[in-house]
Amino acid sequence: MKKKNDIYLLAIESSCDDTAASIIKNGEILSNIIVKQDDHAAYGGVVPELASRVHQQHISIAVDKAMIEAKVLKKQLNAIAFTRGPGLLGSLLVGVNFAKAMALALDIPIIEVHHMHAHILAHFAEEPKPSFPFICLTVSGGHTQLVKVISPYTMELLGQTIDDAAGEAFDKTGKLLGLPYPAGPQIDKRAKLGKAIYEFPIPKIDKLDFSFSGLKTAILYFVQRSVKKDPNFVKEHINDICASVQNTIVEILLLKLEKAALQENVNQIAIAGGVSANSELRTRFLELCTKNQWTGFVPAFQYCTDNAAMIAVAAHYKYLESDFATQDITPDPRLKF
C-alpha cells in the first residue's frame, strides 16, 4: 500500500556505455540495476554509436528489472528522473526520451539530473553520509573534478583537469603498455603484483587543477627507451610499470585533494566516480584522511561506477524542492557543472 506521503521515483542513467535504472522510496534505494554493454571489450573502447543502439535494446529490460526488484508498480511512481548530461548525445537521448514518454503516459513529472552532481550525491545512498560542507574528488573516464559541496543543491567547482581525465590516463597509458580495455582494472590488478620502482614526473599545475597528458608522453618515452635496451622489457616488468603508473596517478590526485581540503578548511572529505573503485586510490585516500584527522567517505563499489541509484538520490532531493523539468527538455552532452 502506498501511504499518502511516500515518494517513489524511477531513475534512468544512460550517459555512456551501461544502461541503468533504479527505484528510490523516500530517499532509500530499493533497486539498482545495471545492464552492461560487454560488446565493448572486443572493440578496444566504448563505441559511441553502438552504445546508443544497445541502450535502446537494454532500457526496457533495465526499467522492468528495477520495478520488479523494488516491488513497485508504475501507478505508484511520483516522478521519473534521467541523466541530462554530460555524456554522449546518442546515449543520453535514449534515456531522456524513454523517461519523457513514460512520464507522459503516467501523467507524472520528470526530473533532470546532472551526471557529475549525481556521482557526488551517491554518498547519500546509504550510511555513513558526509555532513555539509564537504570536499569531493570525482574521478571517472571523462572527468576529474574537485568540488566543494555546500548542500545537495549548491556545489562549487574548485579545480578540474586541464587536459585528460584520470580514467582516460589509466585507459591510454594501459593501451601504450599493450593492456586490454578497460585498462583501469587491469592496471589495478597488475599493480598489486608489482612495486612502484619507476618514477614518472608529477606535473606542476596551478591552483587546484590537474594534468595527466604529460604522463602519457613520459610513459611513451620510458617504453621507447627501455625497449631499445631490451625488447622484452615491458612484458617482463609490466607489474612494476603498472604499479608505478598507478602510484603516479594516485599521487597527482591526492596532492590536490589535500591542498583543497587545507585551503577550504574542511574536514569531511569524499571520493566518487568510477576511478574511486581503484584499490590504491581507496587505500591511500583513507591513509591521507587518518593523517589529517579528516572523516573520509568512500562509496560502495556499486555506487562508484555509472549507476542509476545516484541519479535517484539526486532526483529525490530535487523532488523535495519540486524542481521538475518540462517535456521540451533535451539532453546536453556538455552540460555545465
Binding site: 559511441p48 554509436e49 553502438l50 546518442g90 586541464i162 587536459d163 585528460d164 618515452y221
Partner: protein, 148 residues
C-alpha cells in the same frame, strides 16, 4: 610532399607551429592531426586556440568526441570544433554524432585520429603529422592541401 618539417625540443615551441600555420594558411579552416598516443596532438590544438586568442581551458575531447569553443578574436567571432575520432570504430558512427554538420559550419575544425573520416574532408585542408624525435623532442610535418 610536406610543405614544412620542423623539429622542436620543448612544448612551448608548439606556439611557433600554430602561428606558422595560422599566418601562412589563414583560409584553411580544417586541420587534421596525425600521430600516436602521447605525440602531442591535443597539446598542439591547445596552442592553436591560444594563438587564436582563446584563454579558457582546453580539455581532451576523447570522452565527449567534440568540444566546442566560441570566443572573440580581435572583435571577430570565432567558432572552433575540437574533434577526436579515437573512439569511433565504424564510418556509420560519424553520421550518428553529426560529423558532416560540424564540417559544414563556418568554423575552424581540428580533428585528432582523422583517418576514419577521410571521405568527408574538403580538398582544402592542413595535415599535421606529429612524432617523437630523439630523447625529448617532436618532429612536426605540415602539408597544405589546396583546391584542385
Amino acid at each position: 610532399m610536406f610543405d614544412h618539417i620542423l623539429h622542436i625540443k620543448e612544448e612551448d615551441e608548439l606556439e611557433q607551429i600554430a602561428d606558422l600555420v595560422l599566418s601562412n594558411y589563414p583560409d584553411h579552416k580544417l586541420i587534421l592531426l596525425h600521430g600516436a598516443l602521447g605525440a602531442g596532438k591535443t597539446a598542439l590544438v591547445k596552442r592553436f586556440l591560444k594563438s587564436l586568442a582563446y584563454d579558457g581551458m582546453v580539455q581532451s575531447p576523447t570522452y565527449g568526441i567534440v568540444n566546442e569553443y566560441n570566443f572573440l578574436n580581435d572583435e571577430v567571432e570565432e567558432k572552433v570544433f575540437h574533434i577526436d575520432l579515437y573512439r569511433i570504430n565504424h564510418v556509420s558512427e560519424l553520421v550518428e554524432f553529426g560529423f558532416e554538420e560540424y564540417l559544414m559550419q563556418d568554423a575552424r575544425v581540428f580533428i585528432e585520429w582523422p583517418d576514419i573520416g577521410s571521405d568527408y574532408y574538403p580538398e582544402e585542408h592542413i595535415e599535421i603529422h606529429l612524432s617523437l624525435d630523439g630523447d625529448k623532442g617532436r618532429k612536426i610535418s605540415i602539408k597544405a592541401n589546396r583546391k584542385h
